[in-house]
């Protein structure tokens, strides 16, 4: 063959110098920043020698040897471990946004330890690793189960990871509310603290990390093949399933070993490989090496930040897990900008084939849901436990009971309806059956404002809180719009932007938890959807809002049908895609904000109601919207009722209950479809 030789021949691509320069600079600066307070008391030489010896006569030297040096070493070791695990995870799943954090491994490890603390303390004494690894495997197993049918598409895997993180977090939270006295310390630990008082944890962890890292490195060559896709990797003789399983097991082991020592150190495993990639690490070897180093640098920087904040704020302990999340959020946003090239942007092939149950008569389904809703309303208004026995309130006396049971029930139903509709909008718009307003970050924006209020100690009263949360939701929406404008409002970028917002919210939440006190418990009540705080006026305001927005939504059915065909086809059919997306986005955000102030940011209703509508055979947009609204309302009505009666005379937050039940349904539902 000949020809095309006239083209200029580009040379072998070189690694850009900014990669090593930035990473080394990051490590050095972080190290200097952490050494700064000590340099006032010790000479640089003395400080460096603190890594292997100390001067018994000098207090500062002893302190440096037993506190500062092991902390630095620990941060570097864990940073390396997480950076490497992150890079391996990304390669295994072919997903530039995968990491132990986004796959739920870290929250799984934490969940394992929580369960062991409560039910098998002996196991913890034996080895905390076992419980953590089991929890991590559980989490990653759930994620794989959830995304099996969707072909592990990058965005779906991340969303499933988030769902699993939420779900395990909800269980953790329920345990905290029920058995708080046992678990209080666990949550400070869970936020990831690197404080050390001797060298033994480091030398305990070092061999484990080294062994797992060596095992990971032996997998480099086969891992490289995964870049060619499963079919070709198989055709070249790699046992892809075995390879994936082995590599993921190593990742889980590495992450869990770290989690069981220092708690959740979120997002280092994501930020490090993303940073390496953005700076130009191209081949697998480069990515593994540089993200290992970048992980060390990032964690050291985050830990130093945590140390400085703790010493500046005086009393409250700022765990390192919080500051890593603060650093992780911006890096995800940065990554979103960096993945603008088509071949770097994780796209997903919408192929939910097999997830289409037979169509059913919409009137029967709507009728059934309405009937169930009415039954729930009647039960909730009338049949409730008293101090001695269960009472039945006849219809004539409902006016008396209204003020206690009415507004909260009404608000719960309306919030459910709003979330059901918002979820349908988002799933249709993104063509992703895992999309939901909880994951879009709008709820997260509202929550972030509430967290900030709690942290600054401002007391605005209930109305002020509501207004502030709405502002937060609008702020999140604005940020999303800015982000999305660059990507022509395409769905997956929105979801990933939402992920970044969630990271911020999570960081704030951990901080509040670590400080403890009444602020934390108030905030927790709202976060997990305590409907008992609703007043009558708020309920009616919500009614007007939901009816109005619902009416508007019905006008958008046609664009919603077109959008999943893909941007090209939709615009070829004459739809102004960006404008339609903007409108739908605004609608979804308004609906979500209305619901979030009532039920909190963490219910699964917006995810489950649309899914339930599909399972009930409502495949076209309009029918799905209506069925999802009814299902959402029903779900939260039941949750509200149960929340009132389950631990009477105490109450559980309805949103937490919905999240637990909904999460179970979701896992069961997708698992069942996976078998068919």
């Amino acid at each position: 063959m000949s020809g095309e030789a006239t083209l200029t021949t580009p040379g072998r691509p070189k690694m850009p110098t900014r990669l090593p320069a930035t990473v080394v600079l990051l490590c050095l600066l972080a190290f200097l920043a952490s050494a700064l307070p000590w340099l006032q008391q010790l000479s640089p030489l003395q400080l460096v020698s603190a890594f292997w010896t100390y001067d018994g006569d000098q207090y500062a030297s002893v302190l440096a040897h037993f506190s500062w040096a092991p902390r630095i070493s620990m941060a570097l070791l864990i940073g390396c471990a997480l950076g490497l695990s992150g890079a391996v995870t990304q390669q295994v799943l072919g997903n530039p946004l995968a990491s132990p954090t986004t796959l739920g491994v870290e929250s799984g490890g934490q969940f394992g330890i929580t369960m062991a603390t409560l039910f098998a303390p002996g196991l913890l004494a034996l080895s905390p690793d076992i419980a953590a690894v089991a929890g991590g495997l559980l989490a990653i197993g759930l994620v794989i189960l959830l995304t099996w049918r969707l072909g592990f598409s990058p965005v779906s895997v991340i969303l499933a990871g988030l769902v699993v993180t939420f779900f395990l977090g909800a269980i953790n939270m329920a345990l905290l509310l029920l058995k708080g006295e046992w678990l209080g310390n666990l949550f400070i630990w869970g936020a990831g603290s690197l404080a050390q008082n001797n060298w033994s944890p480091f030398f305990d962890l070092l061999p484990k990390v080294l062994i797992i890292a060596t095992l990971m490195l032996t997998l480099i060559r086969p891992l490289q093949l995964l870049q060619l896709g499963q079919t070709s990797a198989n055709a070249l003789g790699a046992k892809v399933s075995l390879l994936r399983a082995t590599a993921l097991f190593l990742v889980v082991a590495m992450t869990s070993v770290v989690v069981s020592r220092v708690g959740v150190v979120a997002f280092v495993g994501l930020a490090a490989p993303v940073l390496a990639r953005l700076l130009g690490a191209r081949t697998l070897t480069e990515r593994l090496f540089w993200s290992t180093l970048a992980g060390a640098g990032i964690l050291l920087a985050a830990d130093t930040l945590a140390y400085w904040t703790t010493s500046l704020s005086g009393d409250s302990l700022v765990p390192t897990g919080t500051t890593t999340a603060l650093i992780g959020g911006p890096i995800i946003l940065l990554a979103l900008q960096g993945f603008r090239n088509a071949h770097h942007m994780p796209d997903h092939d919408a192929s939910p084939t097999g997830l289409l149950p037979p169509r059913r008569n919409p009137f029967q389904v709507a009728g059934l849901l309405t009937a169930l809703l009415v039954i729930t309303i009647v039960l909730s208004m009338s049949w409730s436990p008293g101090l001695e026995s269960w009472n039945w309130t006849p219809f004539a006396q409902w006016t008396d009971a209204w003020v206690w049971r009415g507004p909260r029930l009404m608000a719960a139903i309306l919030a459910g309806m709003a979330l059901g509709m918002a979820g349908t909008l988002i799933q249709r718009m993104t063509g992703n059956p895992m999309g939901s307003p909880e994951l879009l970050g709008i709820s997260g924006g509202a929550a972030l404002v509430m967290v900030t209020l709690a942290l600054t100690g401002l007391d605005l009263g209930r109305a002020g809180q509501l207004a502030a949360a709405t502002l937060g939701a609008c702020g999140a929406l604005g940020l999303l719009l800015l982000l999305a404008r660059k990507h022509r409002f395409s769905g997956n970028q929105l979801l990933l932007g939402g992920l970044a917002l969630y990271v911020f919210m999570d960081a704030g939440l951990r901080l509040v938890m670590a400080t403890g006190g009444t602020v934390a418990s108030q905030l927790l009540n709202w976060m997990y959807g305590s409907t008992w705080l609703i007043s009558e006026m708020e309920a009616f305001g919500l009614l007007a809002l939901v009816v109005g927005l619902g009416g508007l939504t019905l006008l958008t059915l046609r664009p919603l049908t077109l959008l999943p065909l893909g941007e090209t086809s939709a615009s070829a059919l004459g739809l102004q895609v960006p404008r339609a997306r903007l409108l739908l986005l605004l609608l979804a955000a308004a609906l979500t904000a209305a619901a979030t102030v009532v039920i909190g940011p963490l219910s699964f209703v917006g995810l489950i109601a649309p899914h339930l509508a599909r399972v009930l055979g409502q495949q076209t947009v309009g029918k799905q919207l209506i069925a999802a609204a009814l299902a959402g309302g029903l779900l939260l009505a039941i949750a509200d009722y149960l929340a009132r009666i389950l631990v009477y005379p105490n109450q559980l937050p309805a949103g937490l209950l919905a999240a637990l039940v909904g999460g179970l349904y979701f896992l069961w539902g997708l698992g069942r479809h996976g078998k068919n």
């Binding site: 580009p10 870049q227 070709s232 055709a235 790699a238 191209r282």
Partner: protein, 257 residues
């Protein structure tokens, strides 16, 4: 001597749908076989089954007289190379790095690439005319260049059999012809067994030793181009009224009425 590939009573179902049934075929070394047929006739499925990408529900595939299943994954990949119909994005790999991955079945997870391996990679690059693109990222190439890069990877794999699923669908006429000519030449020189899914009957007849046509999962025609290239058989294969002209020995032109 047993045939290289011996397919016996092969049946493949996906769900309840039978894709292939009762396929009996033998493929010999040094022979280039084209798989023809309408869309959904089972060509790709047959190729995937031969490449062990899909399990057979009935019957079996024998490789040189032994069941193909008995070989280890890398041992099989040293003998049989497979090019999927839609190769995925490669996430920043350069052409040369992609082609070098074809040496994996020989070097395994830990072995280093030797001088010989690099020579083979160079040879594959030269054979597919990819020298100017050697250090370009595969993702930035045009569809045709990318397809050639994948074919080059298969060449570097140095297998004794090539299974190609529509390898020339994205190529222009010149590169279509040159790729098929290369495959034909290699098959003769190295006694390769080549099985290739093609849509263009005329090109298939021009460059292949044997044409096998599938229809609804069963073999409807099997023979040399001279046997198959007549209007009755083509009409059976494609269910369209067709005619064939032989312009010169070994050069047919088929057309639709």
């Amino acid at each position: 001597m047993p045939a290289f590939f011996d397919v016996r009573n092969l049946g493949v179902r996906i769900g309840a749908t039978a894709i292939l049934q009762e396929i009996n075929l033998a493929f010999d070394e040094g022979q280039v076989t084209a798989l023809l047929g309408h869309n959904g006739s089972g060509k790709s499925t047959l190729l995937k089954t031969l490449a062990r990408q899909l399990p057979a529900n009935a019957g079996e595939v024998m490789l040189e007289g032994k069941t193909a299943k008995s070989l280890g994954a890398r041992a099989f990949a040293r003998i049989v190379g497979y090019l999927p119909q839609h190769p995925p994005g490669t996430d920043g790999l350069t052409v040369r790095e992609l082609i070098a991955l074809g040496r994996y079945p020989w070097r395994g997870p830990l072995g280093r690439l030797s001088e010989e391996d690099h020579t083979l990679v160079d040879q594959a690059i030269a054979d597919t005319d990819l020298k100017p693109f050697e250090h370009r990222s595969v993702d930035t190439l045009s569809g045709g260049e990318r397809q050639r890069a994948w074919i080059a990877m298969l060449l570097a794999q140095q297998t004794r059999c090539l299974l190609l699923d529509e390898p020339i669908s994205a190529l222009d006429v010149k590169h279509q012809v040159e790729t098929l000519r290369l495959v034909q030449r290699l098959a003769k020189q190295r006694a390769l067994t080549v099985i290739v899914v093609l849509h263009d009957v005329d090109l298939a007849a021009r460059f292949c030793d044997r044409l096998v046509a599938l229809k609804a999962g069963a073999v409807v025609a099997d023979g040399t181009p001279a046997d198959v290239m007549n209007s009755q058989i083509l009409e059976t294969i494609y269910s369209v009224q067709m005619g064939v002209m032989e312009r010169a020995p070994g050069q047919w032109v088929s057309y639709v009425h």
